[in-house]
Amino acid sequence: MTDRFNLYRFASPATFYPLAGTLIPYFAAIAAVFGIAGLYVGMLVAPTDFQQGEGYRIIFIHVPASWLSMFIYLVMAGWAAIGLAFNTRLSGMMAQALAPTGALMAFLSLWTGALWGKPMWGTWWVWDARLTSELILLFLYIGYMALTAAIDDARRADKAGGLLLLVGVVNVPIIYFSVKWWNTLHQGSSVNLTKSSMAETMLWGMLLMAMCFWMYSIAVALMRVRTIMLERERHTDWVKAILAGGEQ
């Protein structure tokens, strides 16, 4: 260790690889602690909703998944901006490592939303503004993953994907508001999602679960970025050393 701690040192895959390896167990452990606490509060402490009964408890998965699906897209766009501006290798790898988790969160949000909608609204799907924009977000994730998968050259994949992410992030608010206005034009507000009278324990359960999902996403993204690094840097000495060490 040098006498002055330099964060930029970790922009290199060779130094970030061991750091990520050290951090993964911590993030995984924090995710587990928050998950247990969140599920305890959500399933056992939070009161039964007077309108929705026990079925509402799916929001402890649904809401964190929706938050994370949007947040991860923003984080990916942030990495893309850094990658395009400073031409760093790690940024593109991080964006690619985050994408499957983000898509999973978007899918989970839609799926749990459908499971919640069936008993509450009597239908699996409505063309509500939030549902529709979440679906479009899933499309954007799939487009990004399809583009990066189609490009063989890793650096070009990073940059092209990064540009697509930036274009997407500019478009997300436009899409959201157009879907919202479209929805209000087509049908009255037959569906109202606002829950003003939420019990405090419900909110706490949701926040704990959101922390759990957040930490889980970091842990999984770090695991994924480690494999991406090994794959891309396989010609380098440090990867060869790791692989040789692993085989012994």
């Binding site: 583009l147 189609a150 540009l163 274009v167 034009l185």
Partner: protein, 222 residues
């Protein structure tokens, strides 16, 4: 600055005119897709009138998509694109010229034939006018946004399908307001608000999208 835009647009138009079959086939794709819907749904005029704006707009999105891969591919294949990128002019202006030419050969014909197809769907005169206006105003945005997708997928395998995966989600706002303008006119609300938003989206995408597409081209040409 405008010279380079006009020069590139003129060149692309001349090239397109030498191969008019491409323009005509995209146009007939539009006509055929639109004509398939009544066959699938049934000939009730009330139902068709209600579906017409959406059907025409979705078909217009797909028809625009068809001609997008060729926006840069031909120039990429024979090396012209690299020469254009090396030229002293900003690449964004070159792309602007190509986008304008693309709209003239793909968007404009759609707008011109749309009223005829609208009559098949029993739309009123007002609705037909608004439909034509909406397609005229909205298709430049499709060409602009599409240019980004075309540049990103330049030279990739499965480029066409990939292009639609990237671009169609970004087309959603244009679809919503384009079809919404006709809907609003039919229901008596007036489509001016929708048309204004369409015009705003077109201005924004003609202004900004070529620069994003130019950045994507530089990535592809590296």
């Amino acid at each position: 600055m405008l010279n380079i835009v006009a020069a590139v647009a003129g060149r692309d138009l001349k090239l397109a005119m030498r191969r008019q079959a491409d323009i005509v086939s995209a146009l007939f794709f539009f006509v055929i897709v639109v004509s398939l819907f009544p066959l699938g749904i049934g000939p009730e005029p009330d139902l068709l009138r209600k579906l017409a704006p959406g059907v025409l707009w979705v078909a217009a999105l797909l028809a625009t998509m068809l001609s997008l891969p060729r926006l840069f591919a031909d120039d990429h294949r024979d090396g012209t694109l690299e020469q254009l990128a090396l030229a002293p002019h900003p690449l964004g202006l070159v792309v602007t010229g190509k986008v304008i030419a693309h709209w003239l050969v793909s968007g404009l014909p759609l707008a011109l034939i749309a009223p005829v197809l609208g009559i098949q769907f029993d739309l009123s005169t007002d609705a037909l006018l608004v439909l034509t206006g909406a397609i005229l105003l909205g298709t430049p945005a499709l060409s602009g946004i599409g240019a980004i997708g075309a540049a990103l997928t330049l030279g990739l395998r499965g480029g066409g399908v990939l292009l639609s995966l990237l671009v169609l989600p970004l087309y959603i706002p244009v679809l919503i307001f384009g079809a919404g303008a006709v809907d609003a006119t039919v229901s008596g609300l007036g489509g001016e608000g929708h048309l204004s938003l369409l015009a705003a989206m077109t201005c924004a995408s003609i202004g900004f999208a070529p620069w994003a597409a130019a950045a994507a081209l530089k990535i592809a040409l590296e």
